[in-house]
Subunit: 197 residues, 2 copies
């Protein structure tokens, strides 16, 4: 099986993407970048999901000499002009504090009435081969922002996002259900035919 | 002199607007809504500066039986799709914590490079007469976001905003200078000819 490096140190994300790729019938040896401790962190200086995903995939492919995939995803809230967007993972000011990010977003939109609580999860999935191809695809799922956490599953903003057509949050879906409809699933489903196998 | 109620409990804002109106040659008896303790607080449920300014002016005019003016203002950051915008005063989650709001905004855009640090202050100024006229006007001032606080003057985001054409922050301007170029000045200069005197 071809080894592909996923440009994240978040083991949640590695596991979720392994499940998604298996479901899509893509047989690859997916490993997180933590397996390559010498790869430097990449600052996400682009202003779009696609730009940041490509930045990370290219950096990891060049540093490891292996094909690399990366994704950048976030929640885009209508009442906040599409923010937190690319700033989702650092919304409360430092990277990866899921609880603080979620609490801040809830507080910011606490006065926003139901009809303006539309939101979507967006994911850009990028592939880079060393010195070679670069591909990027986007996926999204539309829904509304809840007023309080619901459910124990998922991560990030999952507990406060209710997809259209559902009466539960994405944190109340089983991981199988979530991986069938999620923005990451949709982005990687679009990217899958382009992966080196 | 005609009494006009300003729909804010922030005495900084009352003082600043008194100075602006005096400079504009408008002779009115401006008082803050704190003088009318029975006037209920108004939730800012609109999604625009103009909508919120009108909402507050109308509520205060109806509750006091006096002409009322209100403004809603904020900082709109290009890299955040125009946010914090109407959420500027509650950006960190609770109303009016200037320090927390400013720290959060600085942290959110810490990775944003110089060429994308454009921002503007926007103000909507509204007038409502009891059972009568409603008028709203907007003013703005363009500039860039600094990377750390500069200066002791002003309030809100003043210490991290540098107007185009200046080498100092709005918190380093004298209050006279600031009141000559500010978004509030520009909005109230547009509204002034419509005030009842």
């Amino acid at each position: 099986m071809r080894r592909i490096v996923l440009a994240t140190r978040n083991e949640h994300k590695v596991g979720e993407l392994r499940a998604i790729l298996a479901e899509l019938g893509v047989a690859v040896d997916l490993v997180g970048v933590s397996e390559y401790p010498d790869v430097p962190d990449v600052a996400e200086t682009e202003l779009s999901f696609s730009g940041n995903a490509l930045l990370k995939a290219v950096a990891v492919a060049e540093a490891t000499g292996l094909p690399a995939i990366a994704d950048d995803s976030g929640i885009c809230v209508d009442a906040l002009n599409g923010m937190p967007g690319i700033f989702s993972a650092r919304w409360a000011g430092k990277h990866g504090d899921d609880e603080a990010n979620l609490d801040l977003l809830l507080a910011q939109v606490s006065d926003v009435p139901e009809e303006h609580r539309g939101a979507k999860f967006v994911c850009a999935a990028a592939l880079a081969e060393p010195g070679g191809r670069r591909v990027v695809e986007e996926g999204r799922i539309e829904g509304t922002l809840l007023r309080a956490r619901r459910g124990q599953g998922g991560f990030g903003y999952d507990p406060i996002f209710q997809p259209h057509g559902y009466q539960v949050s994405t944190a109340e879906l089983s991981s199988e259900e979530k991986n069938r409809i999620s923005h990451r699933r949709r982005a990687f489903a679009a990217l899958a035919p382009r992966l080196p196998v």
